[in-house]
Subunit: 147 residues, 2 copies
């Protein structure tokens, strides 16, 4: 029995790479006392604030329940606040949240970039971005349209 196809090999590479780079990133972000998942969420809030929990969940591809817990943790740590803006509850960063992002963002961007710029040239990097964008967008269409 065949136990792979080109597609399955790509899938495995993607999964293993994402896994590994996530671990390395967690390690890297330890200096800021923050995890990769937390950085990701804070970053989305930074860009789109103020926003609701639902919107945030969608941005980071996590369920309602998942975002509820994550937001609680971040609130407990004092990075974000939830406030009731007449009828809609919205999330935004606190001073502390903005401050940690100010510090961590340039470092984290450089860190993420280093996974590619050391091995691919400009042309190849663009190609990878183009291909992954198409693959990602296609996978979003596979989601059962939640009616």
């Amino acid at each position: 029995m065949r136990n792979n196809t080109l597609g399955s090999l790509i899938w495995l590479r993607l999964v293993r790479f994402t896994n590994l780079s996530n671990q390395l990133s967690n390690d890297f972000l330890k200096q800021f006392n923050i995890t990769t998942a937390q950085f990701d969420v804070l970053m989305q809030i930074h860009v789109y604030q103020p926003l609701t929990q639902m919107e945030l969940a969608e941005k980071v591809t996590v369920t309602q329940g998942g975002i509820s817990r994550m937001v609680s943790r971040l609130e407990k740590e004092g990075y974000i606040v939830r406030k009731q803006d007449w009828k809609t509850k919205t999330i935004s960063l606190t001073e502390k949240g903005e401050a940690i992002l100010d510090e961590a963002m340039p470092a984290q961007l450089a860190f993420q970039t280093s996974f590619f710029e050391d091995v691919l040239n400009e042309e190849e990097t663009k190609t990878l971005y183009r291909l992954m964008t198409r693959v990602h967008k296609h996978s979003q269409k596979k989601e059962l349209p939640s009616e």
Copy 2:
């Protein structure tokens, strides 16, 4: 403040795609009563059995502790056995484990492949594989050589 680079955009695409495809895969594998992580581990055991827990951990990029828990779950479900082959404890699939793989493997391979073949041509698929292989291998060098 700039909040992205080409590298960080690729990284985000990879993370989001991996996340989403993992969720879709979990959904897909529900018909076999198994998760994506479990399929991955069973697959590695199938290919490399008999092997030790350490070896398995390395194959799936998980820590000792993580693999210990995963292996316990799979043993409880009756998919694998741990036996003491004079001095070394090794893991292999049971009948039940082999059976579930027989059933699930072709389906799962087709499923994984569908993420790419619907949207990339032969040439592009090969390019994506080549680029991701290089990126992945490079990231493995970043791991602190555990001395």
